[in-house]
């Protein structure tokens, strides 16, 4: 286990940071005129579509810690790019389905952008009641229903759709379907509704076998999102500390007051916890797979709360300027509160942890 980046990871991190600095206005632009050039450059110049993907599909190798460091960096800058949708979520679904060969090479090459359309209007990540259906039609399948909260759903070339087939929940690759942009609270991660009205889909993975595939894929996605959240929380703390050092009231910097200092110290403790937990979980996914399911729930629940807390503290420390539209503090709060809901609320993740602990034999609650 390594707690810092290796040389290659550090180099990539620096390159991402430099490119993001050149597109410093990208997050804010997402609220008016999105900057598609950033992702083109990240794909073309930095090769981010290959990160963490096994070499047989043209990737840099199956090392999830690589993904972790990229996500942390993108989260720090609120980068409005579809890395999570395509390189994490869709890629993990494909890898776990056993059918990665049909799409992944094109995704790595930057020719295809994919995302996953899994939940419906109720936002239920247990997929207990799917209303979207699929029926066979020769070699292909015909899908009907609506999918909601689909990240980057409007710009994706391919949607990996979960639908109820006669054999049970099944995944399909859909290229043509109506998409309607949702008015996302966090515009840096666009959300769409996907409307399937007799849309054609191609089978991904075994018919009726979607749930175990998604269980594993969402494990990885939860960890990656937790890394992104840790990065966002770190950025909030950096902003708040920088401001508290320079802003003066009552004749001294506000950071010298214990009321501010102790608030930020608590954020520091949670941030250190969040970052260490997510990085360890990412490592465990490759090297200690037995620990990964619980750690995925752990860091998704913990980091969701930590990011929201850091974003709120940042606004509080900035005082009046912190609640203006012009200040970036609210961009993090919007991202934090949305990311917390993205893969199911912390309570749902904690419920899964409790389930594991309380169903384990005495003394083996790990």
């Amino acid at each position: 286990m390594r707690f810092g980046p290796n040389e290659e990871q550090a180099a990539l991190r620096t390159a991402i940071r430099e490119m993001l600095a050149e597109h410093a206005n990208a997050a804010r632009a997402a609220y008016s005129r999105p900057d598609s050039r950033l992702w083109e450059r990240m794909t073309g110049e930095l090769g981010l579509t290959a990160v963490g993907v096994p070499e047989e599909y043209g990737g840099t190798g199956a090392n999830f810690t690589d993904v972790a460091f990229v996500q942390e960096e993108l989260g720090r800058a609120l980068a409005p790019v579809p890395f999570f949708s395509s390189v994490v979520l869709a890629t993990r679904v494909l890898l776990e389905s056993g059918d990665a060969g049909i799409l992944l090479p094109d995704m790595v090459a930057g020719k295809v952008l994919a995302t996953a359309a899994l939940v419906e209007a109720a936002g239920d990540w247990t997929f207990a009641e799917l209303s979207t259906t699929a029926r066979p039609d020769g070699d292909r399948w015909i899908l009907n229903g609506e999918k909601h909260f689909v990240t980057d759903g409007t710009t994706a070339d391919v949607l990996l759709v979960l639908a109820h087939a006669p054999q049970g929940p099944t995944l399909f690759a859909v290229r043509v379907a109506a998409r309607v942009a949702m008015d996302a609270l966090d515009a840096t991660r666009p959300l769409s509704t996907v409307i399937l009205r007799g849309s054609y889909g191609d089978l991904v993975g075994p018919p009726g076998g979607a749930l175990p595939v998604l269980d594993r894929a969402l494990r990885a996605a939860s960890i990656a999102l937790a890394c992104e959240q840790a990065g966002g929380a770190a950025a909030c703390l950096d902003m708040a500390v920088a401001y508290a050092k320079t802003r003066e009231q009552f004749g001294r910097p506000i950071g010298s007051f214990q009321a501010i200092k102790h608030l930020l110290a608590d954020v520091l403790v949670d941030n250190e916890s969040a970052s260490a937990a997510a990085l360890y979980a990412a490592w465990a996914l490759d090297h200690a797979p037995g620990e990964a399911p619980a750690l995925a729930n752990l860091c998704q629940a913990f980091n969701s709360d930590a990011y929201v807390a850091a974003a709120k503290a940042n606004i509080q420390v900035h005082g009046g300027i912190g609640f203006t539209w012009e200040h970036d503090a609210h961009l993090h709060l919007r991202r934090a509160i949305s990311a917390r809901a993205l893969l199911g609320p912390p309570e749902a993740h904690r419920e899964r942890i409790a389930d594991r602990i309380l169903s384990a034999p005495t003394g083996e609650s790990r």
Binding site: K261, L264, L298, F302, A354, I357
Partner: protein, 411 residues
Amino acid sequence: MDLASTPRTEAFRCGVRRFLAEHLPPGWRGLGALSVAERARFTPRWRETLREHGYLGVAWPEEYGGAGLSTLEQSALQEEFVRAGVPLLPLPTDPFGFSLIGPTILRWGTEEQKRHFIPRILSGEHRWVQGYSEPDAGSDLFALRTSARLVDDAWVVNGQKVWQTAGDSANWIFVLARTEPSAARARGLSLLLVPIEQPGVEVRPIRTLTGEAEFCEVFFTDARTDAGHVVGARGDGAKVALTLLGYERGAASGALYAGYRVELERLIELIRSRGLDADAGVRRRLAWCWSKVEILRVLGLKTLASVQAGATPGPESSILKLYAAEYHARITELALDLLGSDAMVRSGDPGAAKIGVDPLGTPNSPSAWQHAFLTARAGTIYGGSSQIQRTTLGEQVLGLPREPRPEGGRT
């Protein structure tokens, strides 16, 4: 920072497990399962067994009777002992001898001091307590007033120290005292080694909120100690006393984690036995506790990795202290919530109470959890209160400006 669990460490861990399997009494269920009387019989015998097999003073160089273990090995050793529910530092005074004054003497002491004091810590002849806090110098430690002046060939000590854990069984105390009255605050202090068994030293028990006397206070009235019993240079006491606290926290994080795991298992049993395992609120709070303990493990691994990479533990160690103390206050409160109305009544075997996390085998009774809940209040105060830790983190890790001190009294 790489944390490699090396084959050498794993072999060492296996050796520890073998030792425990061979030497623990048959049917061993953990120290917590022993009555007070059984514990009093077991502890000194166990200490002798540890000494015979080289498990005392493991961090110390071999030339002074230690085992010269690496931080990683110490951590593994502590963890295995906690899991087995058996003490690595059996006497209540041992943590102060082995984790505080021993390393401090080895780092700052003269060769003569090392040859004299270190073997006596190992043998148990010298039983140590700390003498830092005073009634008017708690969080503001360097406001301390206990004084020492050199008269002929001896230090003459006057003043009062407070919060001595195990003070009733100690016979030596390391005292941070003001020796240079003209120097400002921290610069006027020296660390002195003072024998307790003399007319000028009086030890009185302090009854805490649990009803038991877990701490003492110590009064010095013209108490004397040899002029040579100063560790480090005169006036360097603050630096000498505080440098090694970080190292101790680094190696102890694995044991802390293992101890919290033992406690959490006991809480899970409590939840099951009271039929609360389907209660949604209880389930979430349990998951929260489990998460905090697992994160503590990861934070501990990270600390170990940086120590292993040669970093000197600095103010970041306040993260672990703050995190652990606040967590422990929360989980013990959850336990009392689970007890419902039984939380109001002392009932069941209280176990052999102590400060800190209860060892394996501690009874799962209302009395034992009540004791844990009450003592957890002390955990966020002693060893630097949570507020002091937050100030340390804010100023020394985040680099926030210091609170203005009156009269420019910088420490």
